[in-house]
């Protein structure tokens, strides 16, 4: 009490001193009580200016970040959008029974059929060198398409069919305006003659842009016009499935135990600190762990979604545990008391009341963790998911790659046409993320409606 009184006295004295001092120096300005209000008014203006300044600053921060976001999306979309279109060439293919007359339809020389029809299309090309340049206008994938068709339907042999077959990436780029035809011939990857033929074909209506179904149906390829993201997308889905299956139950169980059942002592403190630290461990470390433990020690299959999923769930566990614990903490204690008060056991209280209320938060945490896992590249590089894989994975143990790694691989490719495919793959990845978040929001709403 004494000290409080003393402090009060002191502050009163100080105040008196200040006002004395004030009246000494600014006597003319602040002699009466009304002028005290004036001083407040002065300070008020300053306060308002401060607030205004702060508001403007934060508003401009929002605008700045929004504009960066718009810039990002604009560049990705403008780069990636053309990849959803592909240039096809209309060829009259004569399935010559002489060419196809071999033991196996698979081994026949389908390239010859394509070349034949190209020669018919542009009959004035005669020299060997020119012919080779002409053949380059068609993708090497065209012959595979013919092969597939004939194997599926051998009655085609002997007939002549008009077919849209994939053009090479260079005419594709030229048609999309990605190659500047005004540059001197030596500075562009396409020759004057090729440009001339392409113009000729366009005039005939034999070169058109169609929706690029290959992009969504094929796996990776060295040829940009044949490369697709289905392999990577499937790989991502399988990997995420493994991650979800492992990390959600384990993380929720760990969070519930730590939050509701564990005694509060030094050991649980240590565990808590370590979980928080694990969330900050660089992801490549988890990749190294996967390499050392799962691949080398347990001998699990390399490059497989199974191992990728296990590694990513190790990485996402801390995130989900932290979010789940936060949402468990947010459940009001009155609900626990209510349940305990009617004689529910600890476990009944937790499972009947606390977890259902915390579930939306836990699911949000899980989705954040999975989104993080979806975009993760580094740990997957360590376990071999960076390989060039053409086949679409059919199971958890097949070699595969994932979307971000595919983006990384394509971004590294020298062909001009891979640039737009990179951006298109980023678009697909973003769509995947958005739909995942949308699903989470939907599930959360549905869950909350139960109450």
């Amino acid at each position: 009490m004494v000290s409080i009184q003393g402090r009060k006295k002191k502050s009163v004295q100080q105040w008196k001193y200040m006002s004395d001092n004030m009246s000494d120096t600014e006597e003319k300005k602040v002699p009466t009580r009304a002028s005290a209000m004036e001083r407040v008014q002065l300070g008020l203006a300053k306060r308002r200016r401060k607030e205004e300044r702060f508001r403007k600053l934060s508003f401009s921060a929002v605008i700045l970040s929004l504009s960066f976001l718009v810039l990002l999306f604009a560049s990705i979309i403008s780069n990636g959008w053309p990849a959803f279109q592909r240039t096809d060439i209309l060829l009259d293919i004569h399935f010559d029974s002489e060419v196809l007359d071999v033991d196996s339809l698979v081994k026949a020389n389908y390239g010859k059929l394509v070349k034949q029809s190209m020669r018919e299309l542009l009959p004035d090309v005669t020299s060997r060198h020119n012919k080779r340049e002409m053949y380059r206008l068609v993708s090497s994938g065209a012959s595979y398409e013919l092969q597939k068709m004939v194997v599926a339907d051998p009655t085609l042999i002997g007939k002549t069919v008009s077919l849209w077959l994939p053009a090479d990436d260079l005419p594709d780029m030229l048609m999309k305006g990605k190659i500047n035809r005004n540059l001197p011939e030596t500075e562009r990857p396409i020759s004057d003659k090729q440009i001339q033929w392409i113009d000729q074909l366009i005039a005939q209506g034999r070169l058109e842009q169609h929706f690029n179904t290959t992009f969504f149906q094929a796996g990776d390829s060295r040829e940009p016009e044949l490369a697709g993201i289905r392999g990577a997308l499937t790989g991502s889905m399988l990997t995420l499935f493994v991650t979800l299956l492992l990390s959600f139950p384990v993380a929720v169980a760990a969070a519930v135990y730590l939050e509701e059942f564990a005694p509060k002592n030094r050991w649980t403190d240590l565990v808590e600190v370590n979980i928080n630290n694990l969330a900050a461990v660089p992801s490549i470390v988890f990749g190294l762990l996967g390499l050392a433990v799962f691949l080398n020690f347990f001998g699990m299959p390399r490059s497989s979604p199974l191992v990728g999923g296990v590694v990513l769930s190790l990485m996402t566990l801390p995130t989900i545990i932290i979010a789940s614990r936060a949402s468990l903490k947010a459940v009001p204690p009155s609900i626990r008391e209510a349940a305990l008060g009617v004689g529910a056991s600890k476990m009944q209280t937790v499972f009947h009341h606390v977890i259902p209320l915390a579930m939306p938060g836990m699911m949000t945490g899980t989705i954040i963790g999975l989104s993080q896992a979806l975009g993760e590249t580094a740990p997957l590089l360590m376990i071999g998911m960076v390989a060039f894989i053409v086949d679409i994975p059919g199971s958890m143990t097949d070699p595969s790659t994932v979307l971000p790694v595919q983006i990384f691989l394509w971004a590294d490719s020298p062909e001009r046409a891979f640039v737009e495919r990179t951006s298109a793959a980023i678009l697909v990845l973003l769509m995947f993320l958005i739909s995942m978040n949308g699903l989470a929001i939907y599930l959360r709403r549905k869950f909350e409606q139960r109450w």
Partner: protein, 307 residues
């Protein structure tokens, strides 16, 4: 009902035994000096309880109850009987330990990790703090209504049905319906909610929510109902309804109520206990305690000199 002779007869052996035992049971490895001061305070507390803390046929018997939160003693040597089919009100200034004591009666304090309880609280011949006692049936037997209405975020029906379901008191839908109707009727809520049992319990008004909580407590057929300031969040009209309800429930249940409102204690209770700084200062028949308090502190409190 309660005689001075009876009281004094009971006092001597209990105080001789239990005070000591409490210290043996509870591991107080902490400072010896503070133990000494605590035991000195106990001596005082022993002397200070005036009035008639004991009754002839008690439902619950509390002897030498001490409660610690960590090193701080919140309740000191409380000795009181809780009479069958009557309302015992506990009054006292904030922080006097009345809520803490109430929560000891069905071991709700178990949820507080630093809380330790010594002494004996006997229900049906067993100390409820005995290691053999399971808290689940105990809490079914000694129900609780909290300060703030806390219905589950479920339908009105599910709020009531939850307790009987987990205890296996009902086997089928018809029985559950019956329990729900009975409990809500007993709590005086049936007429108001019978057409909207599927609506969330949190959508009711404050007073209705509190009666829902009382109905929920009744639904598990308890013998004792503990109420921790059940009306503190309610308006006067809702309070009056709940008070009438408490009076009615007394026929069937033993009720212990903590309240800050002395008028309320006077209205609803038969016996009143006055707590002060963790000590039970005075217990008496409500009318006597309010008209003729036996202790200076009680008098000061009920005349509004502090608290």
């Amino acid at each position: 009902m309660i005689t001075a002779e009876h009281t004094s007869m009971n006092k001597a052996p209990y105080f001789a035994g239990y005070g000591k035992e409490a210290y043996e049971v509870i591991p107080t490895s902490s400072i010896l000096a503070s133990q000494r001061t605590l035991s000195e305070e106990k001596e005082q507390a022993r002397e200070e309880t005036v009035g008639e803390p004991f009754v002839d046929a008690p439902r619950m018997t509390c002897r030498g109850v001490d409660v610690w939160y960590g090193d701080k003693q919140a309740i000191m040597d409380v000795n009181i009987d809780i009479g069958k089919n009557q309302v015992l009100a506990m009054i006292g200034p904030s922080g006097c330990g009345k809520s803490t004591f109430l929560r000891c009666l069905n071991r709700m304090n178990d949820t507080v990790p630093i809380c330790r309880v010594g002494g004996e609280i006997i229900l049906d011949g067993m100390n409820i703090y005995d290691k053999k006692i399971d808290v689940v049936p105990l809490r079914a037997q000694v129900g609780m209504v909290f300060q703030k209405p806390n219905p589950f975020p479920k339908s009105i029906y599910d709020n009531i049905a939850y307790g009987p379901k987990i205890h296996g008191l009902v086997n089928n839908q018809a029985e559950t319906d019956e329990v729900v109707e009975y409990s809500l009727t007993r709590a005086g809520l049936w007429e108001e909610v019978k057409d909207r049992l599927d609506q969330p319990g949190t959508g009711l008004s404050g007073g209705q929510q509190q009666r829902l909580c009382i109905a929920r407590a009744i639904a598990v057929r308890p013998e004792v109902i503990l109420m921790d300031e059940p009306c503190s969040a309610l308006d006067p009209i809702a309070t009056a309804t709940v008070e009438d309800l408490i009076d009615e429930l007394r026929q069937q249940y033993t009720i212990v109520i903590v309240t800050h409102n002395m008028q309320q204690a006077a209205r609803v209770s038969q016996r009143t206990a006055y707590f002060h700084l963790g000590k039970l200062i005075e217990v008496g028949i409500t009318d006597q305690l309010f008209t003729n308090p036996g202790h200076q502190l009680t008098e000061d409190y009920i005349t509004g000199r502090f608290g």
